[in-house]
Structures are given as C-alpha cells and as structure tokens.
Symmetry: C2
Subunit: 644 residues, 2 copies
C-alpha cells in the first residue's frame, strides 16, 4: 500500500488547507500521530477521521462517532483491497462496497475524497439541500448504488450483488460495512443464511462492533465470539479482530480474499475511536462536534493536512457483455379460455427469459403457486430461490439490478408486506424492480385472511415513482409483464389465484397508463371501474343490468398507477357523473382512491366504492366475493342505488 | 399420561362413528397401530393424524401432510405437558401454544377436539364459510389467541407472551410449533435473539424439521445440528430428537421444563408421517387427500375410532390480578410553547404508566428519539427494549396484549414499514395495539429519505379496523395517547420530529373521529385541511391570505381514520366547495384520500392535494417543506388557484 500527496492542485498557500477552508482554526500542525513503521495506513485513517468530523460539524448534524469506529477498517480497505476504477466508479469489474450502516455516510464520503472521486468542497456540502451527499448514502452520490439508512438492508442487497456478479462471470468482491446494532435485524440473518446457502465466497461482511447503539449498549456489546458463532452457524467463515489494529485488518482482508465461503469479519472497535473525549462514550450517537470540540479532535488526530489521495489497488476488469436479445414470443390464449393471471405470469416470464438474457427471477419458495417455476425450469441458472425470506427476496433483486440485470421477484402479494421497508428503500436506491404478487384479495378463498393481500395496492401505490398494474386476464398479464422489464422504478403486478376467462385477443396491447372499455354504449347511465377478479364481476353485473334495460359502461383499469385519467374523466362525463369502483382490497388506498385522485382540484363525480370492509374468514371464492359486497349482485345494487 | 374414551355420548351405533359421519367408508376397524408398552401416546397420535386427514378431505383443501409430521410432537405435548384449563382455555395461568406453522391448523383443531374443546362436527366444518375453524388459525377458534399463517410470526409473538407472563408473575409456559421452512424468516432470528437476551426460560420452540417446504426441500433439510448451532448461537438450549419417537419427545419436553434458558427442540420428522404413500414425498404440500386416499390412509392408521378425549395435565393457576389504576394526570403545556409532539408522547406515556399499571412500552432502540425513554425511566420493569428489530417489536406487542397488557410500541414511523406484515397479521389476531411512529415526513430534514415516513398513513389506514391519529400539537398528542389505551384494534399515532407551537389549552379534548376548526369566519372562501406539521403551515398561510383579504378556514384533522366526515362536509358546503388538503406524505393513501372517501357515492367538492411528489433529499425542514410544495407559500398559491 502506498499513498501520494497530490493536492492541493495549486500547491497553494496555507489558507487553502482544507481543514481551514471549512472555517475553523487548526490548533497545531504536525506529523500525523498513529504512524508506525508497519502501519502505512495511519495517515489515511487520520484523514478519514478528520474529514468525517469536519463534514458533520460543518453540516451541524450527523454521526461522527459512528464514522470514527470504522475509520481504520475503511482506510485499510480503500488503500489495499477495494479494487475500483475511481475514474469511473461502478464499472462492471469493480469491487462493490455497501455501507449497510448508512449513518456512517460521512466516512464513505471521506473515502471518496481520498480516492479522488470527490472534492473537499463537496465533502463539506454534506446534508445541505441540493448536495449529492445526503445524510445517508443514496445513488445521487458517486460510487453509491444502493441506498442505506434503514438498517440491516446493505448485506441483503450485497447478496444480490454477489449472485449477479457470479451469474455474469464478474470476479469482483462485495464488501459490506455493518454496524453491530443492525445485527439485531432479522434481515441480516436472512442474508447470512442465503449468502451461506449459495456459498458466496466473494462476499465479505465487516461488522464494526463498537458496542454502543443509539441509546446505549448493544445486546452483545463486545462479545465478538457470539457474533462469530452466529456467522459460523449460517455457513460463513468468521474472523474476529481488533478493528483498530490496521495490520490485523489487512491480514483479515487478505484471508477473506482467499476464502472459499463468505467471510464475516467481526471487528472490535470503539465508537469515537481516535479522539479521547469521544472514545467509547455514551451520549454521543448522532451528534456532531461543536467547532471548538472539532478543533480539539483534529489536533488529537495530528491535524491531518486533508489532501491525501490514496493510491488504491488496480480495478478488476470484466469483459463488456451485451445480453442476447431475441424477439419476445408471447404465450397466446384463446378468448374465453379460463386461465389464472398468475399462470399467465409464469408463461410470460418464461417467454421473456427466452427473449432476454438479462432477465432473472426470484421467488419466496412459492414458485409452484406463483408459477415462477415455469421460468425456473427453462432458465435454472437465472432463477434464484430465496426460500421463505421475503425481505431477502426484495433486497436480492435490488442487488441484481445494480449488476444490470432485470429481476422479477414473486411471492404471494400478502407477503410483500414483509418487505415493505425494502421496497420503500429500493425506491430511494432508484432501483428498477419488477415485483409480482399473487393470491390477491378475498377471492383466494379457503386459506383465509393471512394469505389474502388486501393492502398491496395501497402499499405499492405509496412508493415514490412506482407503477402498479393489475391484469384481469391472461392476455393482459402477458403484455404487462413484457412491458415491466423496460419500466423505470418499482413496478408491481398484482395477479389472481382463480382462473378467469381470457377477455382479449392475443394481439391486443396494454400500454402502462391505459385502460380498456370492455362494455360501452351510447346510453350508459353509469360506469363500473374494476380490475382483476372484480372486472369479471362487473361484466356479470353488466349483463344482469342489461337484462332489465340498464346500460352501464365497464372499464378495465389494468393500470392502477399511473391511471388512465382521460378515460376516467370521459366516463364521468358520458355516464351521468356516476362511477362505481369495485375492488378486492380494503377501501383505503386502492383503486377507488386512485380514481378519486384523477379529479384533484376539481369537483368530482359521485364515486361509489365497493371494497372489502370486514375482516374475511375462509369460504369459497364465490362466497367471499359476495360476502364482501364486491360480487356482481352488489355491483348491480350499487348501480341501481346510484340512479336514485 | 392417560386417556379415557368418553364418547360418543350416546354410546351409539356404528353410524355415529365420526370417521363415517364425514362420509367415507372405513376399510377395516381394529386396534390402533403404533402402540407399544412404553408408548401410551400412540392412540392419540393416530387420532390427531386421522382427524387432520378427515378435516382436510372434507374441506377439499388444506395441508394434511404438514399436520402429520407434527402429530407425534403435539400428541405428547397435549397429553403430558400442555397445562391448560380446557373448560376455559385462555385462563391467566394456562400454558400457551402458538402454531407458528399456521398451515397445520387442522392438527391444532384435532388437538382441541381431543381436549374436548371442539366437537367432531365442528372439526369437519374446517375452512367452510362461517366456521370458526379457518384455513389458518385465528382467534375466532377456541384457544387461539394469535393468528398465524404468515410464517415466522408465531415465535416472535410468543416472546411477547413470555415477557408478559413474567411481568405478571404467571408461571405458564409458552410452546411454539414451527415449521422448518419458516426458519428462513429473519423474524424467527429476531425472536431467538430477544428470547435469548431476555433468557425466557419458559419459552419452548419446537421445530418440525420435516425437510420439505412448499415446492421442494428446505435449505438445511434434515441437518438438525445446523439448526441447533443457530439456536445455541442465540442463547437457547437446543435439543435434537427424532420427532416420531414419542418417548424421546416426552423426555425432551421434560428437559425443556427444567431449563434455565429458552429451549429449541429440533425434531427430525417426515412430512406425511404415518401414511406410507405420503411419507417424505414431494408434491403433496397443501393438498388434501381424495376420499379414496383418505380411506386408505385411515386404514393404515388403524382406523382410530376418533372419539378419544385425552386426559391432559392440570392447568396452572395464576392469582387474579386487577391492575392498579389512578386518575391520569396529563402533562400540561402552555399555549404557544414549542414542544415536539414526539416529546409530548413521551410525557403522556409516562403519565399513562403512572395511572395504569397495565400499560407497557416497547421501543426499537430509538427511545431517546421517540421519547419512550421517559416511560422507561419511570417504569423500567414495564419497558421492553426490542433493539433494532422492528418485526419483533410489533410481534412482542401482540403477545403482551394477549396477556391483558396495553402495549405501546414506538419507533421511527418509517421503520414500521419493516413490520407491516406483523401489523396486518395483528389485525387478523384481533389484537389491541398502540403504535407510535416518530420522525414523519420530509420535515425531519437533514437525515434524508431513508428516515422519512412518507407512506405510513397509507399503510396504517389500509389495516382492518385501524385507527390513525396525527396530532398537531403537544396537547393533542397527550389526549390522544390517553384515548389510545382504550381503543380496540390497531391504533397508530404519527408524531413529528420538529418542535411546533402548542395550539390548544390543556383542557381541550380530542375525541377519535373528531377535528378542530382552528380558524374560521363567515366569509371563508376555501378550507385548508391539514394535520401535524402541515397544520402549522396552514396557519401561516391563513395569515398570509388574510393580509390580502382572503379568508380561509383551517381544520386540524388530527383523526385521519376515522375522519370527521361531518366537518369535512360542512367545510365543503360553507367554503364554496373548495378544499385544500396539505400533508407531509406521498399523495397516495394519505389524508387527501381520506377526505375524498368522505364523499363516496356523491358528487364531491374540488379537493386540491398538496403532498410530497418527488423523492426528497437532505436539507433543513424549512427547505424541504417548501421544496415539496407543502409549505405555507404553496398553500397560499393553491388557495389562490382554487379561486380561479
């Protein structure tokens, strides 16, 4: 490992010293402490500490002591082990580093500065409006590909990164810095379990065991052997070290690089390490130093000049790879045939996998129910069984898309509630995810409410920039699956357990943001808006009403977000201002609310809302649809009521 | 252990035999197989198996093979170890049994029948509409207190049960039957971790290691030592046994009863055990037997008569306990003082704890941010630190309320997304929970989007029977906290990080479903509806508009669900049909949608919707409120726009 002093570029005067530039006085100037003959990392470690302090003091908020505990770990990593092309970070062959303890973001930014990827000026913009350097890392910052800050999500995402890299033959390594507090999160154990199961030998977890959480000691404090025992139990190689012994850190990383299984380095550290009045002290979590304290701290650190640019290891290389593409050959269904949309999803995903080599799939061990198994059978190398670990399912998808893959993750729609935090954070990561939830609504029948998704539309609509789709027939499902692969952001498709008749011919197209008028006449007195299973109820209601001379329009709102506002408005205009929305979902947050939002800022038509209002039990799909008041009879009654 | 044959009561003819009653022919009648001199449990085990098969075949759906693997485990438990007063199951001193593998519900119901708590006729109503015996257990069934079916939630709930029992001095034991597939769920490791941390020696996990998941083998298959190693790493005593060796099971339970720490029994079993054509076969998950197959299976089981009523161990007793209550002495704040609602929550919770001995609190290791630490300091024995394990936080609360306690669980509102499945299932459990989420919305400022709850109102509104509250000032928060303790179902309170001025005098009351008109005149041309931080923006907007002669009404919608429909309607009527809703939340599923729902089935007024529409970054609260378009200036503009 070596270091060069490259800056400041001007070779400029003392005023240009980055410590001073941020506004405080340097107490003394001198050689960095913490240097020893066998310790070439000391100056870099001191600078990372100093910059973490400077940035947070300048911001007036942040977590400097959580940075200081990990500074030695990161100095040694940056200088000797993290193989990144810092001129183009994020290249295919680059090692990855995920700060699972996202609140140590200033340390990450200090590393970027030391790698030459960030100026000192930008470092000091930390947490300011418009800065790329947010309080917790997001992809707005250079090098960052996975947003963190909700603890316990970095390692699970890195499992996906490592699975993707292996699939693509990229010999990169994924390093993850974890806090010890987040070792309480179950999601971390899902990652240990799957990382062990898939023997991801290029995945290295570094646990910054600084003993102190936000409000006091962690459960295990400095009991590194207990963490090691856990890692071992999940199939990882544990290495317990002193996290301030830089030579030991270096050896541990070298050992990790030679491991045939994933490695968990448990590093005993002190929160606030390197500054006497911060070290291992309670009450300092998430608090920046005052300017005076910062001056004292920097002096203790030897007042690093702050302009060190680390010489870092050569980046790995990966051959450029253009995934093969062939025309998509959609499965075709005859109009009137009874096919569950979940089954159509399985067929379409397999066909998409045939057409696109970059499409991968994951499932939460219910692939024979979601039908993702059809993809798995055709493309076993691109299918990742995540077992019953839904948080890991979503996080792995986040990691896979960082590698340029197009992941489809499927499970029962109800069980995506288990991963709502991961979905929310995926949006902060600007991830492109395709999520498919089956067994939506009361129409699943006998299994009862634990298996019924009745909140998934609300949940998925309330995600930044999301797309929410809900096909009513197999043909629609196929076309939407095909489109999802090219969408940005989080795309969610809700599919139904029950078989339903195919409504559209195989050449019909379903643009996102569109809808279909499936029944219309010039004399429509109301419009029934539905999607999925309830569209079929709406069609039955249409026929029942027609038999008594009442004409209603029926709209297939397969695109719940974005919704086809123009058609909804036209329905209101042309059908006497009477809309009836019927959905297999709670009344809150679903299709009816989406319809209501169309009329924001303007007087709205009457929107009758048929939805599930009481906790359902078991029963046949027919019984439960009727009991919930979302069957054809209830629609007929609602239309009649709307006519007054 | 002993058993008596009590039924059928009539001593009746062969036609009354319960096997026949359900409609199939018994192939042969004879003594049960599987009996041995040292195996008094055999007849009961055979009956549990037979009844599991009979019930699922009668239902035409369900998971008989998942019942059969655990039948020996449950027979020995019921007959020799589970201390329950079966005449009044759920009594204070009763042992608890949670079927974490909820899909084995028929086995549980078969146990209830064998305990005399259920008739054979009702057993055969499994999964039928109106039956108490749903496809997965819910509290509609006798003895069931925690709904399961979303895997990995039973053990976490039992951690809460055990914590509650210990607090109340109840010497009961909590037994939990887990499947091996659900050992993939991170929530299980949160439970192992907290169960170990709190050394819950009366908690016994029984892992039915039948090797086969839904669609194939589990990750660890029959590697019981690996499960044992994990349990040990989390501080549990593991016991690995053959789960069909009933004598060994009995010994393991006895050992568990003497343990000084929680026990994890890893039982090697075969899925479908006891029936040759089901045992350890893939492809049978979640499939009932045909009538013919059922007849064959029952014959193999020796055609148990089915009328066995087990003699069960005497129930434990617990002294009746009436929690002390004193009048609630609310903290009082002066109008105009600046107090964060999160701080008022802390003060109110402490005061509630002073007044009510049944109130307990939990936090996800952020008690110094949510201010639950004020309760913790005053009532340390009633405070449960759940560390950064939000799933366990909510599940523990579910368990605590089963013991009659009133749990308040607090963390950052954003991190309740981690436990949405647990909240959803808590509603299925008919649990009474008080959840408090702090740091809502962009107004938290510099920490950035990972810490900002912008979907919590959508998420919590879309929960069966939930209550969603959002105070704008400390006085409101105090009164709402006081009321939450007496609400049914899931109650959620959203609080704000920033200090805001106290708006109401200490004697003001805030009934659930109400609202406050904080500004009104006879000449109001629009109504601004807000809650929490945005109410204060609305008040500023009111003054800005008043300065230019425009009068607007300002409504504090502190009760988001149920919403004060009458006031919303009156506002529309009296303010020119112009409503402006402003919320620190995504546009989907929040306050504006709640306002829109008021007008279901009727033409609605113009509802302008100010909400957060772009992913925020870091910044000051002021900057971020303005950037999101939910600050006073944006409200002024929206009102002007609405006036055309």
């Amino acid at each position: 490992m070596g270091e060069t002093r490259r800056g400041p570029a001007s070779g400029g005067p003392a005023e240009a010293n980055p410590v001073q530039r941020s506004g405080w006085r340097v107490a003394t100037l001198g050689a960095p402490r913490m240097t020893a003959p066998n310790d070439p990392w000391a100056p870099l470690a001191a600078q990372l500490r100093a910059d973490s302090i400077r940035a947070t003091t300048a911001a007036g908020s942040g977590h400097p002591t959580s940075c200081l505990s990990a500074a030695d770990l990161m100095a040694v990593l940056l200088a000797g082990h993290l193989r990144v092309d810092w001129r183009h970070p994020g290249s295919a062959g680059d090692d990855r580093l995920v700060f699972s303890k996202g609140h140590a973001a200033p340390l990450l930014y200090a590393m970027l500065k030391a790698a030459g990827a960030l100026s000192d000026e930008e470092l000091l913009s930390l947490r300011k409006q418009g800065s790329r350097l947010e309080g917790h890392p997001t992809p707005r910052a250079p090098f960052v590909e996975v947003a963190t800050g909700s603890l316990g999500q970095g390692l699970p995402a890195a499992v996906g990164l490592a699975l993707g890299a292996r699939l693509l033959g990229r010999e990169l390594r994924c390093w993850v810095l974890l806090g010890d507090s987040e070792m309480a999160e179950g999601s971390v154990y899902e990652a240990l379990e799957l990382g062990g199961h898939y023997r991801l030998s290029r995945l290295v977890a570094i646990v910054d065991m600084n003993r102190l959480g936000q409000r006091g000691p962690t459960m295990l404090q400095w009991d590194g052997e207990r963490y090691a025992e856990r890692a071992r139990a999940f199939g990882w190689r544990p290495i317990v070290i002193d996290g301030h012994d830089r030579a030991a850190i270096d050896r541990a990383y070298a050992e990790a690089e030679g491991s045939d299984r994933p490695v968990c380095i448990v590093a005993r550290t002190k929160k606030g390490a390197g500054v006497s009045f911060l070290e291992d002290r309670e009450g300092w979590h998430g608090k920046p130093l005052s300017r005076d304290d910062a001056v004292r701290a920097l002096a203790e650190l030897g007042n690093p000049r702050g302009d060190l640019v680390a010489e870092t290891p050569a980046a790995g290389s990966a051959p450029p790879r253009t995934p093969r593409r062939r025309p998509f050959e959609p499965p075709r269904y005859e109009v009137g045939a009874k096919v569950a949309t979940r089954e159509a999803f399985g067929d379409a995903l397999r066909a998409l996998g045939d057409a696109r080599e970059d499409v991968v799939a994951l499932d939460g061990e219910v692939g024979n129910s979601t039908y993702s198994e059809r993809f798995a059978k055709a493309h076993p190398e691109r299918f990742f069984e995540m077992y019953i670990a839904e948080q890991q399912l979503v996080s792995a998808a986040v990691g896979l898309q960082v590698q340029g893959l197009v992941p489809f993750a499927a499970t029962f729609a109800a069980f995506f509630t288990r991963a709502y935090d991961q979905v929310r954070m995926a949006a902060v990561s600007r991830a492109r995810l395709c999520l498919v939830g089956s067994h939506a609504g009361v129409s699943i029948g006998e299994d009862g409410p634990s298996q019924m998704a009745l909140e998934d539309l609300a949940m998925m609509r309330a995600v930044a920039g999301s797309t929410v789709l809900y096909p009513s027939c197999a043909t629609t499902a196929v076309d939407l699956i095909h489109r999802m692969a090219d969408l940005r952001g989080i795309a969610y498709l809700r599919v139904t357990r029950e078989k339903t008749p195919v409504l559209y011919g195989p050449d019909e197209r379903f643009p996102v943001g569109g809808s279909k008028l499936v029944r219309r006449s010039n004399g429509d007195v109301a419009a029934v808006l539905a999607a999925g299973i309830t569209l079929h109820e709406a069609l039955r209601a249409h026929d029942l009403l027609a038999a008594s001379g009442i004409r209603v329009r029926v709209v297939d709102l397969y695109s719940v977000k974005p919704i086809d506002a123009a058609t909804v408005e036209a329905c209101a205009r042309e059908c006497g201002g009477r809309l009836v929305v019927v959905e297999d979902h709670w009344p809150e947050g679903g299709i009816a609310d989406a319809v209501g939002e169309v009329f924001a800022g303007r007087p709205a038509p009457a929107i009758a809302r048929l939805a599930v209002r009481e906790l359902p039990g078991s029963g046949t799909p027919r019984e439960l649809l009727d009991a919930a008041g979302i069957g054809a009879d209830a629609i007929v009654e609602a239309v009649r009521r709307s006519l007054g």
